[in-house]
């Protein structure tokens, strides 16, 4: 769903065109298709990437640096990091537990469980935030109860963290489940037969097999956790210096026509996205290497 690891193994060499046997396209068609793909990707993806950095640096480094060191920007960055530090590990624990459950056991209702795990992918982020507002807001189902005890959930960091956890809920599980299902249970069963206990089996048998997919799931989950906008926007309340995450900070600056500062903050998030892509390439490379080792 979210760009699995198995998706982009390098193709086994380009097909060779032989005369009289058209099993591939003529060079003209080939280069036409490549040109279309390159232009399309450049226009749709590459151009926005470049825009962010160019617009961010338009007014020079001084404006860029002062936008980064602005107290509101710093506190937004801190909140963004806090959200990720809580949401990502919890979703990782869940992801590992859920994929162990689904890959290693067979039980009634497994398909339903899989569908439910995917559910957050198909819920609009705005609705995701809205749900927590209905639950914890002043007129919400649980809001008054928490309010009496002096605990504020929405329009405060806890609500932002909850909404982020919902949105990033399936990421780690989605990366691990297909891989662990494909790997089966033989290695773990052998370890169990030899007397290894639960956590030991996971740590020394399963984990080495899934570590790269786990890392990729983590990185993807982290990128979305730091970048979530719609869901967080609903539950944040937009209190400057208190409940603004970095993406919300970008929005506020933009709406105040402080374009350079807005793009400067956005460039931080762009760097995060590029790091995520770099990590993905690394994971793919490692996985390909491992497969080669296994084969050869």
């Amino acid at each position: 769903m979210a760009g699995g690891i198995a998706t982009s193994r390098p193709a086994h060499g380009a097909p060779t065109a032989e005369r009289g046997r058209p099993t591939s396209e003529s060079p003209a068609v080939k280069w036409l298709l490549i040109t279309i793909a390159v232009i399309f990707l450049a226009a749709v993806v590459l151009l926005p990437l470049i825009t962010v950095f160019v617009e961010g640096l338009k007014r020079g480094w001084n404006v860029y640096i002062s936008a980064m060191t602005d107290p509101d920007a710093v506190s937004a960055l801190k909140l963004t990091l806090l959200v990720a530090v809580i949401a990502v590990p919890l979703n990782t624990i869940f992801g590992i537990a859920a994929s162990w459950l689904i890959a290693k056991f067979s039980f009634r209702g497994k398909n339903l469980l899989l569908t439910l795990i995917d559910l957050p992918f198909s819920v609009s982020p705005v609705i995701a935030g809205f749900m927590f507002l209905l639950l914890f807001g002043a007129q919400g189902y649980l809001g008054p109860w928490f309010d009496e005890r002096g605990l504020q959930i929405v329009f405060a960091p806890p609500g932002i963290i909850l909404a982020t956890m919902f949105v990033t809920f399936p990421f780690v599980a989605r990366e691990l489940i297909p891989l662990m299902q494909a790997q089966g249970t033989q290695e773990e069963e052998a370890a169990a037969t030899l007397g290894a206990k639960g956590f030991r089996i996971f740590w020394s048998v399963t984990l080495p097999n899934i570590k790269w997919a786990l890392l990729y799931g983590l990185v993807l989950c982290n990128a979305r956790a730091m970048g979530e906008f719609g869901a967080v926007s609903v539950v944040s309340g937009h209190i400057r210096g208190e409940t603004n995450t970095l993406p919300l900070h970008v929005e506020i600056l933009y709406n105040e026509y402080q374009f350079s500062a807005s793009f400067a903050a956005a460039s931080l998030l762009m760097l995060l996205a590029l790091l995520t892509l770099g990590a993905k390439s690394l994971v793919e490379w490692k996985t390909a290497q491992r497969n080669q080792d296994l084969e050869g």
């Binding site: 769903m1 869940f94 537990a97 039980f107 009634r108 609009s124 209905l134 639960g198 892509l277």
Partner: protein, 277 residues
């Protein structure tokens, strides 16, 4: 897979089941059921008058049409991109391949302001289109472009693995039997890719309907013209009209779940076909 759980020598069934169900309940099921509970507080008449109000209907129409247009564009170009990435070797292929994932990794708000900077009337591309009478930002066309950006990886990443695993022998057989290349691609390759293309289409479409961050900046948010459904929910929330927001949200949720069911059905059918072969 069927029947109750078979005995396994592996430990951890109870523990992992406990964690999974508990966490799923707290984070997903309880919050989601709030929307349903809240809907039940509405009378049918209230619900119906809310979701059939002209402004609400217009927002659904804009969300559906722009998502549909974006998903269709992505099916065509996403297929070409996937094809080029799998079948050809050329300098820069790996770079293009990682570029495809950028919309997954990039915060939607960043995409939104970048696209607006490009397509605004004084923007990078917008200033060249303006004299031609083409307006992109603050029109449905702008929304569609944002949704093309968001939806692209869904198509490419669902088609790519299928294309990679496709047996070259079938194409060779078709070629030996005298089929031209174009005919082979159309009659042999494309049918094999159809389930993946449909799944990718449905995923991109579903994502587009709910998308918010990348769209709000470029759309201009004019009621009846460029106001998408998620934004209308947001507007209702900001004016504390919880009931209205709930009704609009429930319809949007139902559309998303219908798409989810459709995706599962397509994959189930594709799986059955693969088994039959």
């Amino acid at each position: 897979m069927k029947g109750s759980r078979t005995r396994s020598v592996l430990p951890g069934f109870g523990l992992t089941m406990g964690i999974t169900v508990f966490y799923l309940g707290i984070i997903v099921l309880i919050p989601l059921s709030c929307v349903i509970l809240k809907t039940m507080e509405l009378s049918w008449a209230e619900f119906w008058s809310t979701v059939t109000a002209p402004r609400v209907v217009a927002s659904y129409r804009i969300s559906l049409l722009t998502s549909l247009a974006a998903a269709l564009v992505n099916v065509v170009f996403g297929l070409i991109v996937a094809w080029v990435l799998v079948r050809y070797n050329f300098p820069g292929r790996r770079f293009l391949d990682s570029l495809v994932d950028l919309p997954f990794a990039l915060p939607t708000a960043v995409a939104g302001i970048a696209l607006t900077a490009i397509y605004a009337p004084n923007g990078w591309i917008g200033q060249w289109l303006e004299p031609l009478g083409i307006k992109v930002a603050f029109t449905p066309l702008g929304i569609t472009i944002a949704l093309i950006f968001i939806g692209l990886p869904f198509i490419v990443r669902t088609v790519q693995p299928v294309l990679q695993d496709l047996d070259k022998e079938m194409e060779e057989a078709a070629a030996m039997l005298g089929a031209g290349r174009w005919r082979t691609v159309l009659r042999v390759v494309l049918p094999e890719l159809t389930p993946a293309l449909l799944t990718g289409f449905a995923l991109a479409f579903a994502r587009g309907i709910g998308e918010y961050g990348s769209v709000v900046f470029i759309s201009g948010n004019m009621p009846m013209k460029t106001e998408i459904a998620p934004l209308l929910i947001m507007t209702r929330l900001e004016s504390f009209e919880l009931e209205q927001a709930t009704a609009i949200a429930v319809v949007l949720l139902l559309i998303s779940f219908a798409m989810l069911l459709l995706i599962n059905y397509i994959q189930w059918r594709a799986g059955k076909r693969a088994l039959a072969e």
